[in-house]
Subunit: 164 residues, 2 copies
């Protein structure tokens, strides 16, 4: 498989998981949390399909398309280690959907980030919240959810914050 094939599959998997997650939260109030803005494509997909929903974005350094940058109130700028611990006060309520697109070319850094993000995300999630992630995450209180049809195991990850 070429990198072009791989990129198409990854983006299709991401979209299928985001579309599933957005359908799951229909009718539930609460903000959305995006970890990693990147070029802003998935943020744009979320806001395009969730009009009126508050979407908060954690990003270390903004490098997105200028049209895809949240306003200052919805942008938590800095390392996840700095922004996630205090994020709840910025969100105002626990998130009903979180999307984590945190992988980079650096596999050691990606693994370290995933290890940090799992536990850090848990207190930010509403009961029943759904999480879509490009990396496998160990989020206390969450269980893995079956992927949508067409998304191969391991290509993307879905979790639900199970009712306690």
């Amino acid at each position: 498989m070429s990198r072009l094939d791989s990129a198409i599959r990854r983006l299709q998997a991401q979209r299928a998981c985001l579309d599933w997650a957005m359908a799951e939260i229909a009718g539930q109030s609460g903000p959305v949390l995006e970890l990693g803005l990147g070029n802003g494509r998935s943020y744009d997909h979320l806001r395009h399909n969730l009009p009126g929903r508050e979407i908060f974005v954690c990003e270390r350094k903004v490098a997105a398309h200028p049209d895809c940058i949240p306003d200052d109130r919805h942008l938590l700028l800095g390392d996840f280690t700095d922004t996630l611990p205090g994020a709840l006060s910025r969100l105002g309520a626990r998130a009903v959907l979180a999307h984590c697109d945190i992988g980079s070319g650096d596999s050691a850094l990606t693994a370290a980030l995933a290890t940090f993000v799992g536990p850090a995300l848990a207190p930010l999630l509403a009961t029943g919240a759904v999480v879509a992630a490009d990396q496998a995450l160990d989020i206390p209180g969450c269980r893995a959810v079956a992927l949508p049809p067409g998304v191969a195991a391991g290509r993307y990850h879905l979790y639900r914050n199970s009712p306690k």
Copy 2:
């Protein structure tokens, strides 16, 4: 349509056009020319599906994944205005396939590049060569070719250097 939807459609169109073009040149000897390395995805797709074929890449400034960078002999580094005029001596033979992925966020620059590339490409193409491009190009001696099924008009472009 979100930027995620748009990215998926663009990459699918690119792949469909490259796959068509590669099938067209099966059995024809001659090098392949890639204008614009970008992140190296389409270059990787070409070399993955054309083992043994010489692929030359013109790129102003390499910023691709380290695994997707051609060796020095196959990399024509610099502005297209500097590299294309003398490219035939580097290629050793006219190209049977050219792929131009030259668009950027700067629409004026993209248009200027497309205007330059069309005529500059013509003397580098073998008779019957096929061209796939992300921009509409006016290449002397070439005519537009129908796009593969599923690729909407204008999303990508295909040309053939008609026998004189």
